[in-house]
Symmetry: C2
Subunit: 340 residues, 2 copies
């Protein structure tokens, strides 16, 4: 097995990327193919003891930047680490491709260079949402700002499959984000989607309100990409604000500082629960190949974990399982837009 | 000045309501009119020393329950504490009306019994959003699941006025919730609203992403009611989950318990920052009278603060200021839907 990895994507490329790749070798059985500037990569690689037989380098001359227009960048930068890596995935040279680069470009590249799974209208970003009771899955975390009911139904199927295969949750509880528990709540999109979800074979447990999203009482949180993106980033923002506020209170006086010192280890465990780098990557489900988006600010640890999860996705045959599931559905089950 | 108060609304009515009303007398200069079952109210009132000349009781025989259908309840329960109180507001018998009852019913009742401000298409719930740097304003927190651009523009004007009059913020920074900083981000609703907000006289500072909502770097957070409701409840949920997780870590071992004990006072201050009861009420802006929604689970302290803020709303002439502002706008400035 080979995991393709964009050495040039992310805020700390290629330093943290290469470090993460080397560290991941201890956790995975497969090998790694790094896409990027060869001399920069070799320079970083030389810093670490590693099994060079397990790391291949494919030299590329261009980099897609964060402020590049996604579609234009994919079309014009044909020798970028991202485009070359995605093409390799399409050809089967690698079994998965991980990148912390421009999200829109990765999505556009996935669509144009790798293609969609037949039957899927819109691929989605499927991310792990850490809760105090373990991990949930949030889909769509931001790929599709505007959605139709059929998109949310597809997200639900793909998210459920992800929870089952990657998190090992049997019969995952699928819930629809909404502003109330009643099935008549929300916008027409959510009201219609609720009715359609009830008719699926999924373990649909109804609506989940914002208040209950972080409790871990549901396994798959389904939302349009606008709402999902706000949920993901707001959760991060609230957690950061609270940790900052907590620190300020601890440092306020001597007795607080002593208390904080005694709590240091326990608070470390607490922070670990909130740490996105523990999961590190979010697959773009619906693409006909395993494309994993790592956080733009990923450090080596986040990359290591993203690569680990990518291998798990390959081992559990995630993309093919989704293909099989979707091809087994009649169009009635996922598509209510008969007028289209 | 008289503040009308629904003694029968909320999870702990009338016990906490009456207690809160009595306690509020020390903080306000006006008097209170309680709407509800007279004998129940008198029974509660008898528990507290208070100036009976400052509390009037208007006996009502019906109660609108949380699971009542809003419009139907307002139409059929004409002798409910909520309907009688709203009618009194319309007549000018009271200067504001505070209720912790059924939100939908309060909104419907506000529309049918008190009426809209001319020029406002949709009233909105305007709530204070506590941040580590002080209070922001979130509007709409859930009155309107589906919105048009003109609704969001109205929310922005009303929220800005609220931040100025009630929170005393000069030239409030108004921001539009979105999934990116760029003005091309989001759904068509948000893209169009962004352009319209740029043309207003408001201090529009652009989009605010979920991550920055809790930082307090903007004063007025504008969103459709679906998104706003999820922001409000998710923030509450994440904060609760984190406080629970923190407690668990503190209690995990002896050294943690000692640390927690030393930090007790500081953590108390920390929790206070997150405490919604400090603010207690959210006005339904756009109604032609000051209607304040208190949290359904309000305790006496939350009611006391809701009444205090209601008095502040009357003193600062909030509703009339909004009227003046809206009447001064040309329809071009708030309405792009020329086709309507």
């Amino acid at each position: 097995m080979k995991i393709g990895f964009d050495a040039m994507g992310g805020d700390h490329a290629p330093v943290e990327n290469v470090k993460g790749a080397v560290e991941s070798l201890e956790m995975i059985s497969g090998d790694i193919v790094l896409y990027g500037d060869e001399s920069m990569i070799r320079n970083e690689l030389s810093k670490y003891k590693h099994d060079s037989a397990r790391i291949e380098i494919v030299h590329t001359t261009e980099v897609i930047e964060n402020d590049d227009k996604p579609v234009k960048a994919i079309k014009s930068k044909s020798d970028s680490s991202m485009v070359v890596g995605l093409k390799a995935l399409r050809k089967g040279d690698v079994d998965a491709f991980v990148s912390a680069g421009n999200t829109g470009a990765l999505l556009a590249g996935g669509l144009f260079k790798v293609g969609r799974i037949k039957g899927i209208d819109r691929p989605a970003i499927c991310t792990i949402y850490p809760t105090m009771e373990g991990a949930s899955v949030l889909v769509d975390a931001g790929a599709n700002a505007e959605c139709k009911p059929r998109n949310l139904i597809e997200f639900a199927y793909m998210g459920s499959m992800y929870a089952e295969k990657i998190l090992g949750i049997e019969n995952p509880r699928v819930a629809l984000v909404n502003i109330g528990a009643e099935e008549t709540k929300g916008t027409p999109l959510y009201i219609e989607t609720h009715q359609l979800l009830k008719q699926t074979e999924l373990n649909f447990v109804g609506n989940v309100e914002g208040r209950d999203v972080p409790t871990g009482k549901v396994d798959v949180i389904v939302a349009d990409g606008f709402t999902g993106n706000i949920i993901l980033k707001l959760t991060e923002g609230v957690a950061l604000s609270l940790v900052k506020g907590l620190k300020r209170e601890i440092m306020k006086n001597t007795i607080g500082k002593i208390g904080g010192l005694l709590l240091k280890k326990n608070l470390g465990d607490f922070k670990k629960m909130l740490d996105y780098t523990e999961y590190g990557g979010a697959p773009l489900l619906g693409i006909n190949g395993l494309v994993v988006k790592a956080h733009g600010s990923s450090n080596a640890k986040a990359f290591k974990n993203a690569i680990k999860y990518a291998q798990l996705g390959v081992q559990t045959n995630l993309v093919n399982e989704i293909k099989l599931k979707i091809s087994g559905l009649t169009s009635d089950e996922i598509d209510s837009d008969v007028s289209e």
